[in-house]
Symmetry: C2
Subunit: 411 residues, 2 copies
DNA sequence: AAACTTTCTAAAGTTATGTAATTTATTTGA
DNA sequence: TCAAATAAATTACATAACTTTAGAAAGTTT
């Protein structure tokens, strides 16, 4: 099953209209309450065209509403319109190995209802899908103000390799899934359109739709948690790759002759050296060798309970062992990000995921490493910031996934 | 000077016509002599529309010609048309540190005339620009069959960092140029449109337009010569980055604590460890330490004369030192390519540049390293092949640069 | 030679856009 | 206070490109 060579779709009158509709809707969404006259100015479209398109968006799609009059500047006052985010909804799911979080949100990204359930990891795929289906149904009912018809769909963020050609989760180490079909599993019980994608890519998509992407079109969103991944935005579009596997940033090699094996079986992967799991494992093995450290207290004597968070905490308190381990991991991440930056020339790199919650000790060390390893041709500097939405990043991405589908943002 | 957020241009009747024209022209170019009826089938456009568009391409743009009748399949025989590559021309320049090659070619990529001059590297930017202007003028005259009006422009491939926002060569280590303006330097004496870009990116563009790109839309073209770079094709488009610096593959870090410094001042860059220059330097330093090797004969006793080519030749003949040096370099390149593949999920990686001319010893070792370092989720395998046009790759890219402009391929 | 096929073109109808004129609602100024 | 000026939104009409339908052109088949 080869992907078709991407060609522009057949262009006819309807296609023009669709293009212009998308353009107008995008402008309304971005520039908030705005007059038709203003849209005429920035869109380059003629006034009658804008009027007609806006009418359609108000009465047919119901994605736009009038919000009253603006102030006159010496003539007829403008009728302001805005994106009708508040009366249109999406459901987002962050399917994690320990918890599954679901949220009903309006199209402005505002949470209406949120449910969090433990993930029955051991019970297998079918059990998890049943829980998921319950969760979605619970989110979609019980709120009188949310009309079911205005729920556009369900976006699901999954950790793992997503095969976009076949629409399968090809491999998920966290869940130990191989080629599972989420869509088929849910289609009987869910009446909304369901779309899923890799959690890290969705973080990037969320950032694109609700965060940094409002201004930037080339940036990278890195996830440093139990594993490591990257969502890459090129010219305002998510990088997918030929099969949809793009962004496996955790499995780039940053140490040539490393003897540390990754969960992917390779040696010297960034994920094997710098992920939350790697940080914990490295600290544990050092402790097991008998080195003294604050960590012994933090884990209450049970070395196997040491987590990346503990290592970060101990490092922040000046613990020698923890510092060595944590700083080294940040150096590797900095190298990885520098590599991405040299290849992509992005304007910004945002970082999210559990380990990033360590804060300054995390970002400062990464920035130091990036400064050392990036090729800086001139005064250009790549900004490195936390993701806009913290632990909600994946959910925001799931919203954005549906939003994109609704707004037809990717022609 | 910020780049505008990329929005679809205003869509009106003229715009759909342009879109469809591009589509039809593309189909004609790809499917060779073809009937209007056939274009109707694959394009999805109606027959009258195809007739009208083809008429325009024949009589107005003169980019298409009729080439006679096809054979009937039980009805009126088709009138075959094809892309008029033969009567439309481009000039391509490969501006190298030692030689400058220029070629006049038709739009099918067939060379009409070729000139090669030594590059007066020491004489500075202005002298080189004068030589370049002479070269272009010599290419554009003296052929009675080539009408000057049908020469669409000049594409120039330059080694170095190209700032696309300002249209400058921001930095070229080979030429020691900082922020030079090629367009201004040439505009007085050259009457054709001039466009330039990074040599490696152009190799990729050439591959896209005349080589692998006929079938693939996601691939990477790596250049391993004096330096190392990559041109990356994502969904049929060249990756540029926010400022146009994308593809600095040579400066990704592949060895964390390396003490080998790169020309970019960093340590552990791929280019510092595996470029032609690096291979030669490493071999020289080993020889200087007194290790015995075939290389001593090949360089006729003068260690400073050792080149990457000699190292490859000696390695091919079983020389121990040369093998160690060359194989190690290939291992690094394989790691670099694996990193690219993990991030981009391409269908193909092609490799060109001086060092790649070493042939099997080059490709076999790289493939071995890639097999070791790439994350292979399933049976998927990234193909690694030589570039389609060998030492002409950069010229083909320069042609493609103009071709793209002419055909408006990037809306 | 008549009927059938296939290719290409012409005429008429559709759709969405743009231009120009018009309506609407407010501010400005005599 | 009320007409003139100004700005926003709409209506009416012209335009451009597409599609559908119909038909002409140029072969093959029976």
């Amino acid at each position: 099953m080869k992907r078709e060579k991407s060609v522009h779709p057949k262009a006819d009158a309807l296609y023009i209209n669709k293009l212009n509709k998308i353009k107008v809707l995008g402008l309304i969404r971005e520039t908030g309450p705005v007059s038709r006259a203003n849209i005429v100015k920035v869109s380059g479209l003629s006034a009658p065209t804008v009027t007609r398109i806006v009418d359609g968006l108000i009465h047919d799609e119901k994605l736009v509403v009038e919000v009253g009059m603006g102030s006159s500047s010496g003539g007829r006052p403008p009728l302001l319109i805005k994106f009708n985010g508040e009366q249109n909804y999406v459901i987002g799911i962050d399917l994690g190995a320990t918890f599954t979080r679901g949220a009903l949100s309006n199209l402005d990204g505002k949470f209406i209802k949120e449910i969090r359930i433990p993930t029955r990891l051991e019970s297998g795929f079918n059990a998890i899908m049943e829980d998921l289906s319950d969760l979605i149904n619970r989110l979609s009912i019980g709120n009188t103000r949310v009309r079911k018809q205005r729920i556009f769909g369900v976006g699901i963020a999954v950790a793992g390799l997503i095969n976009k050609r076949e629409n399968l989760v090809e491999y998920s180490p966290d869940f130990d899934w191989y080629n599972v079909d989420i869509l088929i599993a849910l289609e009987k019980s869910i009446e909304f359109p369901v779309i899923f994608d890799n959690v890290t890519r969705l973080m990037a998509l969320g950032e694109l739709s609700y965060g940094a992407g409002q201004k930037l079109q080339n940036f990278i969103c890195v996830n440093v948690g139990y594993g490591i991944g990257a969502g890459i935005i090129v010219d305002g579009k998510l990088l997918m790759g030929a099969d949809g596997f793009a962004g496996e940033f955790g499995h780039i090699t940053v140490e040539t002759d490393s003897d540390i094996q990754c969960s992917c079986k390779k040696y010297g992967c960034l994920e094997a050296l710098a992920s939350g799991r790697a940080i914990a494992l490295t600290a544990r093995s050092r402790l097991a060798r008998g080195q003294s450290s604050l960590l012994v207290e933090l884990c209450e004597g049970d070395v196997d309970k040491v987590t990346a968070k503990m290592v970060a905490d101990a490092a922040r308190n000046g613990d020698e062992l923890a510092r060595n381990v944590f700083y080294r991991a940040m150096e590797y991440i900095g190298i990885g990000i520098s590599n991405l930056a040299n290849i992509f020339n992005p304007e910004l790199v945002t970082i999210g995921g559990g380990v990033s919650l360590a804060g300054d000790i995390f970002f400062d060390n990464i920035r130091k490493s990036v400064d050392k390893n990036i090729m800086q041709p001139t005064s250009r500097k790549v900004e490195i910031l936390p993701v806009a939405f913290g632990e909600n990043a994946a959910l925001m991405g799931a919203f954005a996934l549906i939003l994109h589908r609704v707004l037809n943002l990717d022609i």
